[in-house]
C-alpha cells in the first residue's frame, strides 16, 4: 500500500468518511468532520503509524491529504533504515 493510500486510510477512519471519497485535495475546508481536534488526532495517528515526529512547521504544512502524504514520504526517505 502506498503512503498516500495509508494516509487516506487513517484519515478515513478518523473522519468517518469513506476512503473512496477522500482525494489528494481533501482538506478541512471540504470535509466537515475535519476540525481542529481531528487535525491533531490525524497528526498523532500519523506519528504513531509511521513512527516519526512532526515538527510545528511540518504540522503547518499539512493543508490537505496530498501534501500530508508527500510530507510523510519525504520524511520516510530521509530516515536512515
Amino acid at each position: 500500500m502506498s503512503v498516500f493510500e495509508q494516509v487516506r486510510s487513517i484519515a478515513s477512519d478518523l473522519l468517518g468518511t469513506p476512503a473512496n471519497r477522500i482525494s489528494a485535495d481533501s482538506s478541512p475546508e471540504n470535509i466537515e468532520a475535519w476540525d481542529s481536534v481531528q487535525h491533531l488526532n490525524l497528526v498523532l495517528a500519523l506519528e504513531e503509524k509511521f513512527n516519526l515526529q512532526l515538527s510545528p512547521e511540518e504540522m503547518d504544512q499539512m493543508k490537505n491529504i496530498g501534501t500530508i502524504a508527500k510530507l510523510i514520504e519525504g520524511k520516510l526517505q530521509a530516515t536512515p533504515s
Partner: protein, 373 residues
Amino acid sequence: MPIVIQPYREEHEPAVAEFNRRLQEASADRDLVFSETAIPHWLPRRGEIPLWNEFFVAVEGSFVRGAYALKHEQIFIRENGLHSVACYHHALSEGIIDRKYASVGGLLVRDALARQPLLYVLGMGGYELPLPRMLKALEFSLIPVPFYFRVVHPRKFFLEMNALRNSRWRALLMDIAAATGTGWLAIKAAQTAATLRGRLADFAAEDVTEFSAWADDLWREAKDAVSMASVRDANTLRILYPAENSHLTRIRVSRNDAAIGWAIVGERRKDQTKFGGMRVGSIVDCWSSPANTLPVVRAATQALEKRGVDLIVSNQTHHAWCRAFEDSGFLKGPSTFIFAASKKLTGLLQPLEEDQKSLHVTRADGDGLPRNF
C-alpha cells in the same frame, strides 16, 4: 507562508488587534479576544519572581492566526517538593472562524508543551469542547473540579437562574416555586439541615489588607495535607491578591487570636446568560489545615451574605474543603470546570487516581482571577 509561533512583542500588537476584529466579526462570543498589549496587565514578569504571565502568537507573514498565554508558577507536590509549571490559558485560533486554519489549535498546545512539559489547563467549559478533546488526545489527565453553590435569596434564584431555566417547563416550575414560596422552603430546609451537620468551634474573622508571616505559617502547616497545590505563601498571596485590589476581600480567620486559615471572596462580574440579574459572590480561594476548613468556609459565606449577594459559588477539589462546603449548606452542582494535567505533570502526581481528592484546586488557580472578576 508558514505559521511560526513566537513570543508576543510590541510589533505584533496591530496584527493581534486585527485578529481580534476578525474573531469578533465572525462570532457572537465576546470572550474571543486576546490581549492587545504584548506586556500582560495581569502578572507581568517582575525580576526573578516565579509567578508571571507570558504571551505567544502564531504569525503567518503580517497576520496573527492564533495566540496563547502561559502562567508560570510554582506548585507543591507532596513527597516531590516544589516544581515550576505553567498554566496554558486564553488560547485562540483562527481555526474557530476559518477551517483553513484547523491546524492552529493543535500547533498552539504542542508549542506550549514543548516550552513547558509540566503543563496544566483549568476551566474549559465542558469535556465536549475542542480544547479538552485535544488534551485527551495528547494524553493529559482530565479531572472535574466540583462546583458548589449556596442560594442566599431563593426567590431571585428561581426567577433569574438562566442556566437552569433552559426549557419552557423548567422555567414554569421555577416560576411556581418562586411565586408560592415552596422553592424558598425547600432550599432553606436543605441548607439548614446541612449546616446542622457541621460541628463548629468558636472563630473570629477579620478583613485584612495584606498577607504576612501568619500566612507563611499556615502554608507550612497545611501543605502536607494536600497532594498538590499552587504555592500559597505570603509572597505569592501578596502578588495574587494585592492590597490595592478592591474587587477581592482577604479574610483572616482565627481562634484565640491565632490564625487558623484565610479566604478570598469577591463578587463576580455580571453574567446575564447564566445568572440573570443576580449578584453572585464567589469564594475564590481558601487555605487552612483540614481540621479548620469549616470555620473558613463559614466566615467566607457570612462575609458574602453581609454584602447582599443572591448566590454564592465555589469550585473545590480537596475532600476536606468539599465536606466543609457541604456542611455549610452548599449544594453540589454539575461542573464544567476541568483540571487537566499533561502526561509529564501526571507522572509527578502519581498515584493521581488515588490522590485526586487531595489536590487543592480552586477558582483562583489558572486564569480564574482576571476571567471572573
